[in-house]
């Protein structure tokens, strides 16, 4: 697997998409920091980018890479290699190169800006960590989608739909449920609802840093427990890990069963 990862990774590092992605983040970081110079605002903008754009790029890029590297996959399948290691290798190659573009693209301007001795460092690392997790989650989802759909158009459509659902529609349904049942105690439901969706979960993780004063305004005991202690952080991290692991298992299982 590591060898395939290596080849996928270097293949991607040479493709112009990685540069486009890297350049985008670099530009974003530079713009945010040097034209705005308000670090807190930069962090909020970054949060929006991370919870919306990263999943989108992760899914689209993942699906695109899968379809575009069909030749490579076929070549590898013709070799005596384990199937799961072929797909996992490619997956980690894609997710790794996307993460690297993100970390370098945003990290370089922040380091130049003097992040290392600023108090926003913790927040920046949190953003990077959620960004990397989301990249791994959504690339894995993309590989699953592509493995199940031989038809490219269908695959792309589904990828966008999955993103749209998790990024927007889910929250709409969620909010509607909350307002419809507002006569009942909802603090458990609202916590569970937000922990189940990786985008919401990342948002909550960042909110724990950004908006803790507002979150503590709510009376529910479970809320307090979740947001007030490290328990929230622990649960969120565990869920995030689960969100990475489950689609990866999906890749392994489907790749074992699939005909090529």
């Amino acid at each position: 697997m590591l060898k395939i990862l290596k080849y996928s990774f270097f293949d991607l590092m040479r493709s112009r998409w990685s540069y486009v992605y890297f350049a985008f983040y670099l530009l974003l970081g530079v713009t945010l920091l040097f034209l705005n110079s308000d670090l807190s605002k930069a962090v909020i903008t970054l949060m929006n980018v991370i919870i919306i754009l990263i999943p989108l790029i992760g899914t689209i890029f993942g699906v695109m890479y899968y379809y575009n590297s069909k030749e490579f996959t076929e070549l590898l399948l013709a070799q005596p290699l384990k199937r799961s290691s072929i797909f996992l290798g490619q997956y980690f190659g894609v997710a790794g190169s996307l993460s690297l573009s993100l970390i370098l693209g945003l990290g370089i301007p922040f380091v130049f800006y003097g992040l290392l001795n600023s108090d926003a460092m913790g927040e920046f690392f949190l953003l990077m960590a959620t960004g990397v997790s989301l990249t791994f989650i959504f690339t894995a989802l993309a590989f699953n989608i592509a493995l199940y759909n031989e038809n490219r158009i269908k695959g792309f459509g589904m990828a966008i739909l999955v993103w749209l659902f998790l990024a927007i529609i889910y929250d709409g349904i969620f909010l509607m449920t909350l307002t419809l049942f507002s006569d009942y105690p909802l603090d458990k439901l609202s916590l569970i609802g937000s922990v189940l969706n990786p985008i919401d979960l990342s948002r909550i993780l960042i909110l724990l840093k950004l908006d803790i004063s507002a979150l503590m305004g709510y009376t529910g005991a479970i809320f307090k427990q979740f947001f007030g202690t490290n328990w929230g952080l622990a649960v969120s991290t565990a869920m995030m890990a689960l969100w990475v692991v489950i689609p990866i298992v999906g890749i392994v299982l489907k790749s074992k069963k699939k005909d090529f």
């Binding site: 060898k3 395939i4 293949d11 040479r14 590297s69 490579f72 076929e74 070799q79 005909d259």
Partner: protein
């Protein structure tokens, strides 16, 4: 060498293989023939483990392939369409495949044989179909395995390269290897193969030597013999 019993495979509603039984002995060149969509490639992919059969069993080197995935290290496979990652250079591709499978020095001889030196530093995306096929052939033959499976090996080859390929196949056969070939070029099949397997609508229609086939169909030459089978079954 390869034993297939009662092999079934469906893709959706399309029943591609309907109870194939086939036994291929060691040594010699076997051609798998049949009209388009008869299941040749599916059969080969089943042998390679790339397609998982719905029913039936396959043994390669006397071991059921389901439980012993290691057999694939002893097979060299030439895929039908030579698709390669466009970003890679030929040299890098060969290096990569060696890295993934095992080290070998055969590649230099094969590169020389197919006159590929001028292309070594070109990206695969920029190569013509025939050149890509040559690269494909190099990748397949460089590992010296006892079983070789070639899916449409002649695609896009110029006459010179075709001759070299035939020579190569003969050399390998003379080393005592088993070679499975699918091809649409009847002349090529007639020239190289010892025995043919004719697949029709997911079943083995005929297995034997070319003279036997001619005798069975009552046709004087190979191409007509094949054509008559097809005509008979479509009428």
């Amino acid at each position: 060498m390869v034993t297939i019993t009662n092999l079934h495979k469906k893709f959706g509603k399309n029943e591609v293989l309907r109870g194939v039984d086939l036994n291929i002995d060691q040594g010699g060149i076997f051609a798998i023939l049949g009209p388009n969509g008869s299941g040749k490639t599916t059969l080969i992919k089943c042998i390679l483990g790339m397609v998982l059969p719905d029913a039936g069993s396959i043994s390669v080197f006397d071991k059921n392939i389901k439980k012993n995935p290691d057999y694939r290290h002893k097979i060299d496979y030439l895929p039908q369409i030579a698709n390669f990652p466009g970003n890679l250079k030929v040299r890098e591709l060969i290096k990569m495949i060696k890295d993934l499978r095992k080290p070998t020095t055969e590649d230099t001889r094969l590169i020389e044989l197919f006159k590929l030196e001028p292309f070594l530093d070109k990206k695969l995306g920029n190569l013509s179909g025939g050149t890509k096929q040559k690269v494909n052939i190099v990748l397949t033959f460089m590992f010296d395995s006892p079983l070789i499976i070639l899916d449409e090996p002649t695609t896009g080859l110029d006459p010179m390269s075709l001759i070299r390929l035939k020579e190569l196949i003969h050399q390998e056969k003379n080393k005592g290897k088993t070679i499975l070939i699918t091809s649409h070029i009847m002349g090529f099949v007639e020239e190289v193969s010892n025995e043919i397997v004719f697949i029709l609508e997911g079943n083995i229609y005929f297995k034997g030597t070319i003279p036997e086939l001619k005798e069975k169909t009552g046709q004087p030459d190979f191409e007509h013999a094949i054509a008559s089978i097809l005509k008979e079954n479509h009428a």
